[in-house]
Symmetry: D3
Amino acid sequence: MSAHGPIEYGDASVAVRAVFDDIKLTRKVDDVNNFWKYLAHDPQMLKRTWESVKEIMRPGALDALTKEMIYLAVSVTNGCGYCIASHGAAARKAGMTEQMFGELMAVVGMANETNRLANGYRVPIDAAFDR
Amino acid sequence: MSAHGPIEYGDASVAVRAVFDDIKLTRKVDDVNNFWKYLAHDPQMLKRTWESVKEIMRPGALDALTKEMIYLAVSVTNGCGYCIASHGAAARKAGMTEQMFGELMAVVGMANETNRLANGYRVPIDAAFDR
Amino acid sequence: MSAHGPIEYGDASVAVRAVFDDIKLTRKVDDVNNFWKYLAHDPQMLKRTWESVKEIMRPGALDALTKEMIYLAVSVTNGCGYCIASHGAAARKAGMTEQMFGELMAVVGMANETNRLANGYRVPIDAAFDR
Amino acid sequence: MSAHGPIEYGDASVAVRAVFDDIKLTRKVDDVNNFWKYLAHDPQMLKRTWESVKEIMRPGALDALTKEMIYLAVSVTNGCGYCIASHGAAARKAGMTEQMFGELMAVVGMANETNRLANGYRVPIDAAFDR
Amino acid sequence: MSAHGPIEYGDASVAVRAVFDDIKLTRKVDDVNNFWKYLAHDPQMLKRTWESVKEIMRPGALDALTKEMIYLAVSVTNGCGYCIASHGAAARKAGMTEQMFGELMAVVGMANETNRLANGYRVPIDAAFDR
Amino acid sequence: MSAHGPIEYGDASVAVRAVFDDIKLTRKVDDVNNFWKYLAHDPQMLKRTWESVKEIMRPGALDALTKEMIYLAVSVTNGCGYCIASHGAAARKAGMTEQMFGELMAVVGMANETNRLANGYRVPIDAAFDR
């Protein structure tokens, strides 16, 4: 009762359909992911989020694969189950091999470990790194 | 009294010096960062951490720059001040331009935002992503 | 063997029943949530936690709805699935409309993003905000 | 070398000045905070972030004060020092009294505690909260 | 203006002094830490927090040292600078040697690493661990 | 396609079997947990992680039970469902009683609460704790 279900294309408003259409066109997919179907409960948020994601994930100084791997690294660090599944799939689609995934995970794991070592040993920032 | 200071090379044990020497040789630097000087209070941890970092950060399926950027993305997500400073410097040394840094930050910011949108809307994993 | 199940009223000790009764009376509900049935394995923790929650969530300078929305915002940030479900329901019961939920999620998402931008750009605190 | 300083109005590009002007006009302030002066290194991110913040923080179903308090609650949970300082100031400017701040902190503290109790006791979601 | 300073004993209300006195008596110290002097801005929160901490940190099935080390492990994981400093000192006062600290940090680091490996590899819970 | 399943002993390479054998021998168990069966997709990570875990969890200045409880406290704080289940079981196997678990959870909950109180009140580190 109190929770949301996905909004499918057939039930969506004109504004929501316009965003769904742009996602499908941009990503060359037949349907949008659950993430977008749930955000569709708030059409303004759907539009703003999609436009930001579209702008940010476009290849630039970093290519699409590197961007997806960074997205995945953050999602793994935060423990977001949905995001690990969806951006894992997106990274693989963009070319991430299993060996690359293994190396990404090794870096993510080590960074999460050494972040805490730096905290716990209260390591001051080296003058060379500081402003 | 209750806290640690850095252990400098001149005051270090033979075991610690051996690690410091390997870090300096591997990274082609004149001195090691504070991080290692603080871990040196526990020579076994110093050795194990360095050997893991050395193995993990070696170029493989991912190049050194990509690995440093993933390290930085995790450190920014966790808010580790020391690690942001040191791995920001390392990523720049490995070739990260300011434009690349800007794009990395945009992805990190957006991932941290959409991780919470997925949480809050309780979005179920799409069948296509699931096992 | 190693895990806990819920402790139902009929199986509860006198001390646990007293807390359950007070929760039901205060919240005008017929049964307590799973959260309390699991904490009941430690009657002292159950009592202390309930008394703190009761005192903290009582309307004061902030009304009940605002308090529930803050609770939900924290739970979404931490990715606590149980707490998102239970405090989402509680906030809706206290009057949160879907539009309010959408705006809450927008703020939570943006705060999680800009928290990382501030970290990554190492922004120093403005003199005006500092002591 | 490797780090950024703030970009002041006098040194800013036309595109950056346009955003700074809009921030000053919208917020009725003489100068923008350090946060914006640092983001100005990436004019596209500056513009996108400001436009999102402006849209999200505008009073709607939730008033400005409630939105600032939610922002602060997230920042405290994440331990972002800059954001706690700046959004604490913003919330006070929007009308948060010290008593309201105290109650906000009590809820934030309790939510962070009970989020972990729910995790550790592995409490399953009540059927009533679930879809 | 917008921030708090510490409330010293000489400036404290009767209610605050009563808590300060109990802290000093219980911990056999001449003055309370900054943490309590800041919470004193909200006497009700000061009293509730102190009474909970006092009850929780009292030796029981776990001794005082083990409890302080768990407190420190959480604070390091969360990156709370104040708490790392204060609970590091408290753990040392309760008997934590430098060797124990080193081993604690090794476990905290490894747990933060393997938590992410379990997330990223999406490891399902073994039937043996599940209810 | 894009996701991993567990690698069972019968399907494992010689290098993976060698690690599995050492885990079974060290822990005196008939089979390894899912965690190791998933890491087995990256034999180098499997070996490195196991060797670090084996070295770190060996009784030293801290006994095996204390180490497992610290591991569990971190996992609860991070909300890692798999790790809470597996290290909860491991801690119980090492001797953690339900009363000890209750006290551990009380400390973890309180630390997560007071970490945020220290953040939000922006409490400066006492001179006595500082270097």
